[in-house]
């Protein structure tokens, strides 16, 4: 396996014809024997966090632990989700980009980012891609792409809830709701089952029951070895109700 450490994004993009991006390496290192080459993003300066006029921009190579840094006024529930994403040792290496690329539905952080209607900037693409779309297309492209940063608007309110076998276990069912600052519809994401967390269709503030039903329907087949569909479908509706109530109050 070849290892490259480019100093600029241009250089990195060129090298990506040979190999895949290496961020923290926490997911990639165990796969090392299957890889031709890796392109380390360490020196590309993609680790800035900026909060400007209500928009948060975070470089893709930002380590998850940095989201917990009190210097940045990120929503408390986003930090909470970041904290549950992985243990301290992993958060110190793992990055936002790597997490987005590897997360399944049990990822607290990606669930919350999804509810925040996060958009993703990809090198060489003119416009930003919604995270929702990226999660579907993550692993399908022939040549690896490079996420440079993500962006989301600071929410009016945000809440995350989950059910797990123990407090730090990965969720069996989870939900996050965002009350947008502009008072439009509420954004809700649900997780715990499958390859990725899911966005519900946005709901009006008073449509709690509709949101519950939507969530229950989405998880009507969500059975796997960890929980039955019957359980997930009911409990996700309960969590959706709770997070909605929380962001409304």
């Amino acid at each position: 396996m070849k290892y490259y450490r480019p100093e600029t994004i241009e250089e990195a993009l060129e090298l990506l014809s040979e190999g895949v991006p290496l961020a923290g390496g926490t997911a990639l290192a165990p796969e090392r024997r299957t890889l031709e080459a890796v392109v380390d993003l360490d020196r590309l300066g993609l680790d800035q966090i900026e909060i400007q006029s209500g928009t948060v921009r975070i470089g893709a190579a930002t380590r998850i632990q940095r989201l917990l840094d009190p210097d940045f006024e990120l929503p408390a529930q986003l930090r909470r989700a970041a904290r549950f994403e992985a243990s301290l040792n992993l958060r110190n290496m793992a990055t936002l980009g790597g997490t987005i690329m590897t997360a399944n539905a049990r990822s607290p952080l990606v669930l919350v980012l999804l509810a925040l209607q996060t958009s993703v900037s990809i090198s060489g693409e003119a416009s930003e891609v919604p995270l929702d779309k990226l999660l579907d297309n993550r692993m399908t492209g022939e040549t690896p792409f490079l996420i440079e940063r993500i962006a989301f608007a600071l929410p009016g309110a945000l809440h995350y809830e989950y059910v797990a076998r123990s407090p730090a276990d990965r969720p069996l069912v989870s939900a996050a709701a965002v009350a947008p600052a502009d008072g439009k519809k509420y954004s809700i994401a649900i997780g715990g089952y499958g390859e990725r967390p899911r966005l519900l269709d946005p709901v009006a503030g008073d449509a709690v029951e509709a949101a519950r039903q939507q969530a229950a329907r989405r998880y009507s087949d969500a059975g796997d070895v960890f929980a039955s569909a019957e359980y997930r479908s009911e409990v996700v509706s309960i969590l959706v109700e709770r997070v909605l109530e929380e962001v409304q109050s």
Binding site: Y3, G25, A29, R32, L35, L88, P167, V225
Partner: protein, 997 residues
């Protein structure tokens, strides 16, 4: 490629391949063995290093990633305070605190914890407990339950801030009366803070209801630091993996991808042809010897049904071939080149199917060796039928009959150090096996026929062990390395991956247990019956004995009351069946947690049904001191049973102490307490379980010890007993020191090496402190006698004669009644160099005719979300009667760590298989074990009794902590919301389901 970075403050350069992991570079290139391997996926934190000052996992990082950064390992931290003529800097404050507080058990996670703590304290000199716990969240510890490491870090923080901290040097807190919910801490005798405000209390000592030993004890009963703590806290190369041997090969196993098949064809020629491959072995290449992998005394109480390699595979993960290669990558490539054709056979995955007529036969080999009632034709590895008293009459006399079926899952020991062994021929052409084992002597005896060597040509060395919990009471990987050393003549090393630990090692037997109990209106139990269907998996290792203990301990506790107490009616039947799943085996508790899940859930349901008081009902029917252990007349691990009377039983006091500590009476069944303000969906609940265990196997378990004096009056204590992190080296040294009248650091302990140390059956059955301890005392008493004789001679040479019996050993001296003394160093010099020269030394061994049970009351407090079924365990309190506590730090460490493992058994640990028999859990993400930042409050109380069968009155403490948590948690859930979960673990979905039914 060339990389440059700062390593422990020094700039270094390294030439590495792009795919080299940082962990491998640090260990292999720099010899930094303090960085440990516990997994491959970044989940355990054993491999922690500081990367620019922050803890990270070096096993999921490429070495190339550290270019231009700084890496710190444990090797840069602290040193032994005594460096001879050079004055040493000593341990660093964090290390010192870890040593003092008993924060180190096996020590495998300790370097990681120390580094994480230093990183925290560098940024935050005044951390809260929560912050400390967060800083440890990346380091899994399977031994301690995290209390003591957390306390150590808080203590170190205070020391580093220049504050005064409370000494932890005993004597033990001894409240005169029963403990009240908020105990006043008494100030320690002999410690005067001199008016300075103590900033911090280090709460690592358990609370103890003290039994006053007839003779004052000086070392026994004191919180001595562990004898191996200083080396472990520095990350010294003390474990099996921490050696380098020239030309050492790496071994790998090809595991079966199918659950049940005959190997129709196997061709290893391509693998053998691969450059860098030294040997490939298939079943065709080595002799076929039936044996048992269970490390037990001779004769093995179970079937001989295993082969190093066979032409049949019996579970997904079973052995197909062995490879030895120059490195791991080549070994893995070679595995992929072995061509195997399987003829698939129907697989049995559900134990209920195993006994069905016409079921596939898992062991159809003609060379299968039966034991007792094993019957491979029916897939029966063992069978137990025990009737005590007249069970049917008891049922007839009952006013109520309660019947139900309970279930417990398969769970993993999950020691952080994987199974590992290194084998090589020494200069005498004897085969040396350096291995992480709980049973070095059994391993030698059992491997000899398998390898075609006489036992005398095998030497087994057990270095420090990174946790075992029963998983290493198994001869699991030693044969693989040994066969490959025999094949190649070269040193070979085999180390399991974490995934292999899950799919190809041993685990706790899953069981389905049917209970039937007769009870009178007044709450008297008239008869109690258990039937256990136990799943031993593909091989019968520990099949009979584990399940036997399920009944032998759990069904012995409730004998009934009145006339039933005199002649209890108890039935215990079990079928232990083969299935095509990974073998079960020994896991701390050894069948007893399974039994108590059923018994204690059942008792709680009876109590609720009849409206009785849970504590009163249990104590009314429980076994008491002076009574005969009901099973002692019926069963003894497949050997002849002999009646045994219970001498000591502190169960009632345990129940009292525990209920006061958890404030039982203002919580149990109290709706006002159960409701949580502003959270209508939450309910609190409290639950209890009473439990008992055993201490060693009577008339069987034997331990030996030898002690010799050195010129300076210090002693070498050689023991076969295998400290696997439990602190047994320390408590054995304490017992020797007590008899010899010296401080514990005058005892140099070495364990264990089949060439040097006396035999010991090994670390299991909660026996070491008791059995090996009594052996140590015997040896020490003989040595003391020789010392007295010598001292009497020395006194007589210079003055009035003194009778040797009148001489007292204390403070490293021998004292005559008239106040004269000679130091033990003078005694040693006199005996070794000056007159009538002799080596003062002795060997002692001990076997016990009894197995005095420890007793305990386990309490749990939970909060249940009645809409989602989620259970959060808030508090666990355990009050334990383990006889006299030799070391309150190591003993409470056992209880805290045991409760933490049991907490996993209660709520989240479970190994499941898909319909092809493939494991669902192969890592610590899916198989969740508790981390530091999610722990409930834990409290340990000891209720001492003085067990007359041991010189210092001890009983066991190692296993009992794992018995009661799961039922206590489930009983608490029942108290909270009526949820009645019959199958462990108590997952959210199970609670939710039971609330809806």
């Amino acid at each position: 490629m060339q990389i440059q970075f700062l390593l422990n403050g020094e700039p270094v350069e390294l030439d590495v391949a792009g795919d080299t992991l940082l962990l491998d570079a640090l260990r292999d290139e720099f010899g930094l063995f303090g960085v440990k391997h516990g997994c491959e996926t970044g989940e355990c934190g054993a491999c922690t290093v500081l990367f620019d000052g922050q803890p990270v996992n070096s096993c999921v990082m490429l070495a190339a990633q550290v270019e231009g950064h700084s890496i710190t390992t444990i090797e840069s931290v602290g040193e032994h305070p005594d460096q001879g003529w050079r004055s040493g800097a000593g341990l660093d404050a964090v290390q010192q605190a870890f040593v003092e507080t008993g924060a180190i058990q096996c020590g495998f996670c300790t370097p990681a914890m120390v580094l994480a703590a230093r990183s925290l304290l560098a940024a935050n000199p005044e951390p809260s407990e929560e912050e400390v716990r967060e800083s440890l969240s990346g380091v899994l510890c399977r031994c301690t339950g995290y209390i003591k490491p957390v306390q150590a870090i808080l203590r170190a923080a205070a020391v580093l801030r220049g504050e005064q901290v409370e000494p932890i040097d005993g004597p033990i807190l001894a409240p005169k009366d029963l403990i009240t919910p908020a105990p006043e801490r008494e100030s320690r005798a002999g410690w005067d803070p001199g008016g300075t405000q103590v900033s911090l209390e280090t709460t690592v000592m358990p609370r103890i209801q003290v039994a006053h030993h007839p003779e004052p004890l000086h070392t026994v009963g004191h919180p001595e630091p562990k004898v191996d703590a200083v080396k472990l806290v520095q990350g010294k190369p003390a474990f099996t993996a921490d050696v380098e041997l020239r030309g050492m090969l790496v071994a790998k196993i090809l595991h079966s991808p199918v659950a049940h098949a005959r190997i129709k064809h196997i061709d290893a020629s391509k693998a053998r042809a691969l450059e860098g491959v030294a040997a490939v072995l298939t079943w065709k290449d080595i002799p076929r010897v039936a044996y048992s992998t269970a490390g037990q005394s001779h004769p093995i109480p179970g079937p001989l049904d295993s082969f190093s390699l066979d032409n049949k595979v019996r579970f997904v993960g079973d052995r197909v071939a062995f490879v030895a290669a120059e490195n791991e990558a080549i070994a893995e490539q070679a595995l992929a080149l072995i061509e195997v054709e399987y003829e698939q056979l129907p697989a049995i995955l559900d134990p209920a199917d195993a006994l069905e007529e016409g079921a596939a036969q898992i062991h159809d080999e003609p060379d299968y060796v039966n034991f007792d009632l094993s019957d491979p034709g029916r897939n029966l590895a063992a069978k137990i039928r025990i009737d005590i008293g007249e069970v049917e009459r008891g049922f007839d006399e009952a006013d109520h009959i309660f019947e139900a079926t309970y279930e417990v899952p398969k769970v993993q020991q999950a020691h952080i150090e994987p199974h590992i062994a290194i084998t090589y021929w020494d200069e005498d052409d004897r085969l040396v096996i350096r291995t992480s084992t709980q049973v070095p002597f059994h391993a030698r005896r059992q491997l000899a026929p398998v390898l075609g060597l006489p036992a005398k040509r095998i030497r087994v060395i057990k270095p420090r062990i990174g946790g075992g919990f029963g998983g290493k009471q198994e001869v699991l990987v030693e044969d693989v390395a040994a066969h490959l050393t025999i094949a190649t003549g070269r040193p070979v090393r085999i180390e399991y991956t974490r995934a292999e630990e899950f799919f190809a090692s041993r685990s706790r037997h899953p069981m389905r247990i049917r209970m039937k109990t007769g009870v009178k209106n007044d709450g008297t139990i008239t008869a109690n019956e258990m039937y256990a269907l136990s799943d031993t998996g593909a091989y019968g290792c520990h099949a009979l004995t584990v399940t036997g203990n399920t009944g032998h301990k759990a069904m012995a506790l409730y004998v009934g009351d009145g006339e039933y107490r005199q002649e209890p009616n108890i039935r215990f039947y079990a079928d232990i069946v083969y299935t095509n799943t990974p073998p079960s085996g020994a896991y701390r508790g050894y069948g007893v947690p399974q039994g108590f899940w059923a018994v204690e859930r059942h008792m709680e349901r009876i109590v609720r049904e009849l409206g009785l008081d849970p504590l009163e009902f249990r104590l009314k029917n429980a076994l008491r001191a002076g009574e005969v252990h009901p099973f002692s007349t019926a069963w003894s691990e497949g050997r002849e049973p002999r009646p045994e009377t219970i001498n000591t039983c502190g169960l009632e006091d345990c129940a009292k102490q525990g209920s006061l500590a958890i404030d039982w009476f203002s919580k149990f069944n109290r709706p006002d307490w159960q409701r949580v303000e502003d959270k209508p969906h939450l309910r609190r609940g409290i639950g209890v379980a009473l439990v008992m265990q055993g201490t060693a196997i009577p008339y069987l378990d034997m331990g030996g010890a030898s002690i010799k004096i050195n010129d300076d009056g210090s002693f070498n204590l050689l023991i076969g007993a295998t400290d696997l992190g439990t602190g047994s080296d320390t408590v054995l040294a304490q017992q020797a020191a007590e008899v010899l009248g010296v401080p514990i650091d005058d005892i140099i302990v070495y364990s264990s090496d089949t060439d040097f140390t006396p035999f010991d059956k090994g670390a299991y059955a909660s026996s070491t402190t008791y059995i090996s301890g009594a052996a140590v005392v015997r040896a020490a008493r003989q040595v003391a006698e020789r010392i007295r004789a010598r001292a009497a001679k020395m006194f007589g040479e210079e003055g009035d004669p003194v009778r040797p019996e009148a001489i007292r050993l204390a403070n490293k001296q021998a004292w005559s009644p008239d106040g004269r003394s000679v130091t033990l160093a003078e005694v040693a010099l006199h005996s070794l160099h000056q007159e009538d020269q002799e080596q003062i030394m002795a060997v002692g061994s001990y076997m016990s005719p009894v197995a005095p049970p420890p007793f305990a009351a386990q309490f749990a407090e939970v909060t249940v979300d009645i809409e989602t079924g989620q259970v959060v365990v808030d508090k666990l309190v355990m009050a334990v009667d383990s006889g006299i506590i030799v070391n309150p730090l190591t003993a409470s460490g056992q209880v805290e760590g045991g409760m933490t493992q049991a907490l996993g058994y209660a709520v989240c640990e479970e190994m499941l298989y898909d319909d092809q028999g493939r494991a669902r859990e192969v890592d610590f993400t899916d198989y969740h074990i508790f981390a530091a930042h999610e722990m409930p409050e834990l409290q340990t109380i000891f209720v001492e009794t003085i067990e007359p069968s041991h010189p210092f009155g001890v009983k066991a403490v190692a296993e009992i902590p794992i018995d009661g948590v799961a039922p206590a948690v489930a009983n608490a859930v029942m108290d909270a919301c009526g949820g009645d979960v019959l199958a462990a673990p108590v997952t959210p979905e199970r609670v939710w389901k039971s609330l809806r039914s």
